[in-house]
Amino acid sequence: MRLKTSLPKEPKHKELVSCVGWTTADELYSCSEDHQILKWTLLTNETSLVVRLPEDIYPVDLHWFPKTVGAKKQTQAEIYALTSTDGKFHLVSKMGRIEKSVEAHKGAVLAGRWNYDGTALITAGEDGQIKIWSKSGMLRSTLVSQGSPVYSVAWGPDSDRILYSSGRQLIIKPLQPNAKVIQWKAHDGLVLKVDWNSVNDLILSGGEDCKYKVWDSFGRLLHSSSSQDYPVTSLSWAPDGEVFAVGSFNTLRLCDKTGWSYALEKPNTGSVFSLAWSADGTQLAGACGNGHVIFAHVVEQHWEWKNFVITLTKRRTMQVRNVLNDAVDVLEFRDRVIKASLAFDHLVVATSLQCYVYNSRNWNTPLIFDLKEGTISLILQAEKHFLLVDGSGLYTYSYEGRLISTLKFPGMRADILNAQTASLSNDTIAIRDKTDEKVIFLFDAMTGRPIGEGKPLTHKLEVLEIALDQCGPSTERKIALIDKNRDLYLTSVRHLGREPKICKIGSMVHSMAWNDTANILCGIQDDQFTVWYYPSVVFTDKELLPKTIYTKDGSEFARAPHILSYVGAKVTLRQRDGSLVYSSVPIYPALLHEYSASARWEDALRLCRFAKDQHLWACLAGMAMANRDLNTAEMAYAAIKELPRVQYINFIKEQPSKDSSLAHMLMFSGHVQEAEATLLQAGLIYQAIQVNIDLFNWNRALELAVKHKTHVDTVLAYREKFLQKFGRKETNKRFLQYSEGVEVDWEKIQAKIEMELSKEREKAANTTVRSSVASRH
């Protein structure tokens, strides 16, 4: 990835350019100390004078009123805030008319920023004050007064906090009066510029110590650049938060969000005082000290999938290379490419007006459909369809170009979704809520309606990353999530009745990805590369989970790499320094998943015997148990030397009726209540009581016995035996109460139990006979 810059031969401004701002992706306004405001139209390559400002106005900063607010389009006429050295800010219309001038600060107004919904403007001055103004320019409050000038200010993602520079320090101040202020020393020199991205919630700062740094919103340092040759005079996040640009004297740099630099350009610009990205994130403009305005766009982005490598060679051209036969195809587009995604045999390209869908078997005839709104901010792909996210909503399209569903939910902020907070699978869409980060909304991908009576999934902590598994039937859909403590949890998406359990399967997980062909999860746990061969095992046999995890020493990777994709047996990771590394995962588990999905247990057993791998046996045990194939499960458990489990399976096999064995299988997975319910439903009261007795769940056993007026003496007898064994006295009031009226006679009880069992056997035999008779007819 690199920046392609263009700089006209002669500067259009006579003095230094102080600020630039985009209106659309093809139109830029620039202000200079020669009092001119110029409009640059990129489509026609024309520059025209909008207005010549009065001689006493030297502009410092320019910010356009935000265009879209959440999903709503702004109807108000387009205006921008222009701050100047005489302590005023001006609201200027698109035609250049100064609608309003407000006396704001003593000395120059160094920065002026609208918040994200356009309800407030913040200005920072040389006098060390920060003031908040209403949309019409009325003073709301003076937020900060300090002794040194405030060089730069930025809004937080929810517009409820601001970030500003104070000498060498950075300060985050919430707008609420008594909320906690975060303050830290950021640089060894004056901090000149800050920026805060709303999508990834990361902070950028650059200063006179010639460094730029990336922070998270708690002020923790994520990346610090090496010392550059010149002070950092400007920096700006791309709207999608994937990259940012840094400007200093004769320098323009493109960096990844983790801080490493993609490309460096050394144009003849003088100091770059201000940088601005267009709303679709494709164009970058810089205000240069020598009167130039520099334009740049990002080219040479790469997408890789299996044997295809796709490169964006020009703004409107892509090159597809098939590495197997070195065949090269060139794809041409009518407009600029904004976003692209390559996965599941399909390439989806969003340009400013249209969406192109290519099949990897045929690069000549794409499917083209028009887009309602221009700027696509995210494309997610699943095997059967893909999801487009633009400023106003989420749309699921099939690869044939048919609109399948449209998502709408209250409080939706589609513009700030990214691949970590939204996930797509063949039947489900998951989206993390923005206002309450503990909540995950789940939708049916086919209808766009919420799953499970509209009740979202709620975790106990803030969720950072979510991912849906890609394979298997929709009823088995699972979602993996990483919370604020970096713990990895797994839960099922669709459930009947009861709330699904959210099971923890890992801790210190920094990054994760599901496989595209099997439900295998990989992640970076602490410093290790970890693969959960069969994460769902946690729902059938929790203790088997550690045995199904495959770890690879992470020492071959640098600190905390990020997983980009997990396709087939290949995992692609991006290290902190930006280098791509690959890791291969054994292919057997994927095969095993395939066998288990098609219930080919014989083949599965053969595979495990061939591979001689404990992990694989453990997976097989879990899969067989989940699918209630007891013979296979028994063999698999035997292979991993889990003798108690083998015994229990044998016990289940010996159960007289189907209902009992089903109940015990549920017991095996720890679903006690379900097991009890199953037994009660089948009318096996004694068995249900016995299950509770076996679990020392005395109160429940007694309750059942009393309720069904049977086996009260059995419960009391077992209780007595239990107490005797431990040499304790009865203290439970209910037991004391019932033991008064009931006499315990072990012989009678044994006879009763025997009778119950034979009854069950008889019943089971009858049903088998009946079913065999039925099948004969």
Partner: protein
């Protein structure tokens, strides 16, 4: 020689027998003087012309010397600034080289990782064939 009464009256005849009031000798001297004066004026004029030319030439030379001097100063400054420019250029190139080096290092790591995957896969294939 008899005295000429005319001469006594102050009248003289010249060679062309015209009557004169000035003594021929004086007249001759006068005309001689006139001649000489004319010559002198001529000479002075010539001299002035020559001197003027000289001055002009010297002026021109001075001017030329001045421009040459300026040129020399300019060139000298340029030389100095070229050195500085080269330095800046060198710095720029160095920065670009450092960037490329970093990219190369990334590619090297990527290559290593891929080689490792390749060897792992070869090993797997060998093992697979052997076991079959």
């Amino acid at each position: 020689m008899a005295k000429d009464p005319l001469a006594e009256a102050g009248f003289y005849f010249d060679e062309l027998n015209k009557l004169r009031v000035l003594e021929p000798e004086v007249s001759q001297k006068t005309s001689e003087l006139k001649e000489e004066c004319k010559e002198f004026v001529d000479k002075i004029g010539q001299f002035q012309k020559i001197v003027g030319g000289l001055i002009e030439m010297v002026d021109e030379l001075a001017k030329e010397a001045e421009t040459e001097k300026m040129k020399a100063i300019g060139a000298r400054n340029l030389l100095k600034s070229v050195a500085k420019q080269r330095e800046a250029q060198q710095q720029q190139l160095q920065a670009l080289i450092a960037e490329k080096k970093m990219q190369l290092e990334r590619y090297r790591i990527e290559y290593e990782a891929l080689s490792k995957v390749e060897s792992e896969q070869n090993e797997f294939i060998d093992q697979f064939i052997l076991q079959k």
